[in-house]
Subunit: 290 residues, 2 copies
């Protein structure tokens, strides 16, 4: 990773961790197990890719960090809620997450369910309370759309339906399941910025390409990684008879598509200059080991 | 029921049903099973007590119906999401809801989980999109607080913890689990109204008393009702060894407390006149059969 990006990620991840930590301090009279589970679900070593993308896009759009940070935390909290629910036995049934017991294994299924529910409510509350009022409603609308039936939850339903068989179907499913939140990460700062049409379009194109690349990389890691490196059980997709970019294309073609989409993302990001944070983020996402 | 209230409820329930129906029409390219499950979870004959309370309070506060209706729908959608999740095997494990198979029996546990998740996201999106912008952020903040760890989800966690043994503990649990959303129903219109301090306090007192009465009535119905009348399995609380107002106080004392809290609610509501919608709503909630 380029030293500039490494320093950026280290610094921004620290900012995000601190802010998430602050948001997850509760007074003593709340149900303590639920509070602990909420902290566990969010503060367990996630890579913070989504909020880091949001802070990077915000910086390029000259949006001040304190203005976007609550939305970045809300986004990571929504992502965390979805993981707590996805890991449940009735969904993906995964006992491990980021190298630790999944929320329902550490606590209980009921608490993991409530943890997801209350984290989701909290995410919207945070934006409504802490983002600039003139942008907060748009941030909330877009987060709702990105995580609801048109986005993440809808994509998960498509995935569960077993109807995904072809490459276009796979792409459509993932553009919702993982792509919509990644796109929100990159485009949410536009709600707080003055940006021309070309810049807006470049960010959308970047987000689409990065979202696709992200999922291809995930599928490649799932097919080739170890539990230790991934922090979760690899090979579940193949084992579960699921269609992935690797099962459809083979490893080699999947890697080619990953490279092509990363290049597309980088080309779009060049509107911000020959070297910039989004460009290097795309490169980091390509090279990541988990 | 007084004829005036009966007419009011019939008219308002129709308004709410129509608005909910409109909100739950989706284009053909969303995952159809999830869309169907969302409609099923919301449009299956609920009594619409919460949105009806909200419209009643709004009317007394002279808030125009179109301004509050989206928030009333969002509230009912949040309530519906919580029922879909509460009925799941890992939570209350109830196969019946409003006389029909629970969402997870009609569809699957995974779909019921996603249904709740996506309904919750949609509720916030609706308020952000359709409520008057100058009030929407407060409506969202308050809904988040009422349904998260300080409210509904926190109350459910307390309930699950098994730590509720005494009357004050029961009251605290229910003030969160069911009381917080009922209070939101009654007080949300304040975000759109000019109201003096006495009116605000009266609405809060009314909401507290109605919330408590509502739960006592639920416990009495659970102890005395039939599956047919309730549309769900009665006696689950007693069977599950749960503390309720009936197990703690006995039927007779529980009925006395119900009457006392209803009287308190009515006394608070009198700030709007000797006969008014909130007053008669409290009377209706006392007399309801399911």
């Amino acid at each position: 990773m380029p030293p500039r990006l490494a320093a950026y990620l280290t610094q921004k991840t620290a900012v995000i961790e601190k802010a998430l930590n602050n948001y997850l301090v509760f007074p003593p009279d709340v149900p303590q197990e639920l509070a602990e589970a909420m902290r566990y679900a969010v503060l367990n070593g996630g890579k913070r890719i989504r909020p880091a993308l949001m802070l990077a896009a915000a910086e390029l759009l000259r949006v001040a960090e304190p203005e976007i940070l609550p939305a970045a935390c809300a986004l990571e909290i929504v992502h965390s809620y979805s993981l707590a629910h996805d890991d449940l036995p009735c969904m993906d049934n995964d006992d491990w997450r980021r190298g630790q017991p999944a929320c329902h294994k550490k606590f209980s299924e009921a608490i993991a369910l409530l943890t997801g529910d209350t984290l989701q409510a909290y995410a919207y509350e945070i934006i409504a309370r802490d983002c600039p009022p003139e942008s907060a409603l748009e941030l909330i609308k877009n987060l709702g759309a990105a995580s609801g039936i048109y986005g993440m939850a809808g994509g998960q339903a498509l995935d569960l339906s077993g109807a995904v068989r072809t490459l276009p179907e796979l792409q459509k499913m993932h553009s919702r399941k993982t792509g919509a939140l990644l796109k929100y990460a990159v485009t949410a700062p536009l709600c707080l910025a003055q940006a021309d049409a070309a810049t807006r379009q470049a960010l959308r194109d970047y987000a689409d390409a990065v979202g696709l690349a992200f999922q291809i990389k995930d599928d490649i890691l799932d097919a080739t990684g170890t539990t230790e490196a991934l922090g979760k059980t690899p090979g579940k997709d193949a084992g579960g008879n699921k269609v992935t970019y690797v099962t459809l294309l083979g490893l080699e073609k999947a890697a080619e598509l990953l490279a092509a989409e990363t290049n597309k993302a980088c080309a779009s990001a060049k509107i911000f200059g020959e070297e910039n944070l989004l460009l290097t983020m795309a490169q980091y996402l390509l090279e990541r080991k988990n």
